[in-house]
């Protein structure tokens, strides 16, 4: 006769939240709120925008079918020029941000010592104040009777005040000022974790400071630099407040075109079409940017890659 071996006592099944999910579902469950949020406030508006760009609406607002006429209408030389101008200024902003941010992050991470946190705090403080206040502050600095002109005049570097405001210079200055932190923070956090022995190892193996920078520091911080570039480049492309406030009437960028169409009478579909067109070109340019980063990373890598 066979013996029955009881290995475990039967348990009554009780309802619990845990029984709804297996372990595999947990990441999904955690991601759910974000997904809902994103769907409601990002994908839904995006869908509305896409639809409004292809809907043919009568003047009374009734649906008359699909059309591509809005897309055809926004495809003109002036628009393309504005988009490429925006790409240009976004790229320039990102480059300048990088040039300023890298030494700054380097100093913070390696030379900051015990003042590291304090210095970082001072970098972040301006971002607690309203954006318009920043602009006002810069007005005081840049205006005809402003701080900068007075300083240059008193040093006899210039004969008469320079027209700083309403210029390309003013736009770039404000853009760089506004987006700088998005470049500093990723690079700083990457440098902060940097294994300092690698500097010593590199130097021990015969590398000069420049070679160490090129072959060790740069390749290892490249992912952070790339992240910083994206964080600056993408919003800078769509920026419309800064050109409007700092650039005067002549400054006209992709963001300004969109805001004008969207706020205008019956021109919202044109704005939607223009935005989508701009977004496509932006995406291509981001692809190009990532490709460039890949090439740089490869060229900084070793011989065997």
């Amino acid at each position: 006769m066979e013996e029955t071996v009881i290995t475990s006592l039967p348990r009554r099944k009780r309802f619990s939240l845990g029984s709804l999910f297996t372990k595999k579902d947990i990441p999904f469950a955690i991601g759910c709120p974000a997904l809902v949020w994103h769907s409601l406030f990002f994908y839904l508006p995006l869908l509305i925008m896409i639809l409004s760009s292809v809907f043919d609406l009568s003047e009374s607002g009734s649906f008359q079918g699909f059309t591509l006429k809005h897309f055809l209408a926004v495809q003109n030389v002036a628009h393309f020029r504005i988009i490429f101008k925006s790409i240009g200024i976004a790229f320039l902003t990102a480059i300048l941000c990088f040039v300023i941010a890298f030494p700054c992050a380097y100093f913070l991470a390696f030379k900051g010592g015990r003042y590291k946190t304090l210095l970082l705090f001072f970098l972040i403080v301006p971002f607690w104040t309203n954006f318009l206040l920043h602009v006002c502050a810069w007005f005081f600095v840049l205006e005809r009777n402003g701080f900068l002109n007075n300083l240059l005049l008193s040093l006899n570097l210039i004969g008469e005040p320079i027209h700083f405001l309403n210029s390309f210079f003013a736009i770039i200055l404000m853009m760089v000022y506004h987006y700088l932190l998005f470049m500093i923070l990723p690079i700083y956090s990457s440098l902060e974790k940097f294994n300092l022995f690698l500097f010593e190892a590199s130097s021990d193996l015969g590398a000069t400071k420049l070679q160490t920078f090129k072959r060790i520091l740069l390749p290892l911080t490249l992912p952070a630099i790339r992240l910083g570039f994206l964080l600056v480049y993408i919003p800078a492309f769509g920026e419309f407040v800064i050109p409007e406030l700092m650039g005067g009437d002549k400054a006209y960028y992709a963001g300004n075109v969109v805001s004008q169409y969207v706020l205008g009478n019956y021109t919202a579909p044109l704005g939607a079409a223009f935005t989508l067109m701009g977004a496509c070109i932006l995406m291509v340019s981001i692809g190009l940017l990532l490709w460039i980063f890949k090439r740089i990373s490869k060229s900084l890598g070793g011989l065997s890659v």
Partner: protein
């Protein structure tokens, strides 16, 4: 002019001092490391031995004193201009470069030709048996493999001096033993001066031609061959730090004929004074160090030994090849004895609480000043 490699690869430290902040880490160190030697620097944690290594590598600047490589003063040379390479304790491999590129690094920064680099790197990777991992990144390697890559990277440029900062600390015991043998063979082949920093006496004794013992204050207590250091320590610090020992204290008497040491509670011990030292005089305080393996233990009294003591076995630790007896003497002094486990079934078995006789020859004792 021919280069005389014999002296060119020596390291000489003259009155070298280094302080970090207020604290003096290294104080007036003088040390000569002969060319082509395997030299070990042994000391407790925090004694400044790593700082000494970093000074030789050039990562730290000395406050005063000079460092010579051969006849060249390298005190103020930056690290990349010294023909000195280091193997870091944590290896410091470049995480973004694979094994090949890590090893090739020093040749690449010297802008050597691609073919030469390839040839030399492949040769050294083969010698270190890591050629099959050539395209792996450091994170994909085991500790032992990382160790080999770090070694290969440091010696590919054929430095005059190789510095090793506790390179085996992260490896398990078996692997460590294997690497020790490989290091000895490597050094034999290269004839590069190796300076090996460790707090592990076993490593130092195994590897070194000569070794220096540093104490807590960053001073060098003794320099000598492993045998000299182990058998004839000059201070109780060295005696206690290298190996285990028993120290008995007393006063010195009868220097010229049949000298002995008088202890307060254990009586007299015959001692041997082959060379009279400056500190010795009638009635002076002294210590003697007796290694545990130089004491014999028995339950029966034995003749023919210069010194005898009686004690009670307080604990027994079985080590495999030997057994350690911890004994309590009449005055509650503790004493250790190692006995080789020569036979499966020894004639007498010693157990806890047994009263035993301890014997040693007076020649096997080291006399220490205090």
């Amino acid at each position: 002019m021919t280069k005389n490699k014999d002296t060119l690869r020596s390291i000489k430290l003259v009155n070298l001092s280094k302080s970090i902040g207020e604290a003096s880490v290294i104080n007036q160190v003088n040390l000569h490391i002969p060319s082509g030697e395997f030299f070990a620097l042994l000391g407790p944690s925090g004694c400044g031995k790593t700082t000494l290594l970093r000074l030789i590598a050039g990562f730290e600047n000395a406050n005063s004193g000079k460092i010579y490589l051969g006849n060249t003063d390298i005190t103020d040379l930056p690290p990349h201009k010294r023909s000195v390479n280091i193997v870091f304790q944590n290896y410091a491999l470049f995480p973004h470069l694979n094994v090949f590129d890590n090893v090739a690094y020093s040749l690449v920064v010297q802008k050597k030709g691609k073919e030469e680099i390839e040839k030399r790197v492949l040769k050294i990777l083969k010698a270190f048996h890591i050629e099959e991992h050539i395209f792996k990144f450091p994170a994909q390697l085991s500790g032992g493999q990382q160790q080999r890559v770090a070694l290969a990277r440091a010696i590919i440029n054929e430095p005059d001096v190789l510095l090793l900062d506790e390179p085996l600390a992260a490896l398990d015991f078996k692997l460590r033993e294997k690497m020790l043998i490989e290091l000895i063979e490597l050094q034999d082949k290269l004839k590069t001066t190796f300076i090996y920093v460790t707090h592990d006496q076993f490593e130092a004794l195994t590897l070194a031609d000569h070794m220096a013992i540093m104490n807590h204050a960053g001073d060098i207590e003794q320099i000598g061959t492993p045998k000299e250091i182990y058998e004839f320590p000059i201070s109780s610090f060295v005696a206690k730090f290298v190996g285990t020992t028993n120290i008995l204290q007393g006063t010195l008497h009868n220097l010229d004929a049949e000298p002995f040491m008088e202890t307060p509670n254990l009586g007299k011990f015959h001692i041997d004074i082959p060379h009279k030292k400056a500190w010795m005089y009638e009635g002076c305080d002294m210590s003697m160090s007796i290694r545990p393996e130089k004491i014999f233990i028995s339950k029966k009294p034995v003749q023919n030994f210069s010194n005898t003591l009686r004690g009670i076995v307080s604990s027994i630790v079985y080590h495999g090849r030997s057994t350690q007896y911890n004994l309590l003497l009449q005055d509650q002094t503790k004493l250790q004895v190692f006995e080789q486990n020569e036979e499966h079934f020894p004639q007498e078995t010693i157990d806890y609480d047994d009263e035993v006789y301890l014997y040693w020859q007076k020649e096997n004792v080291v006399l220490l000043e205090k």
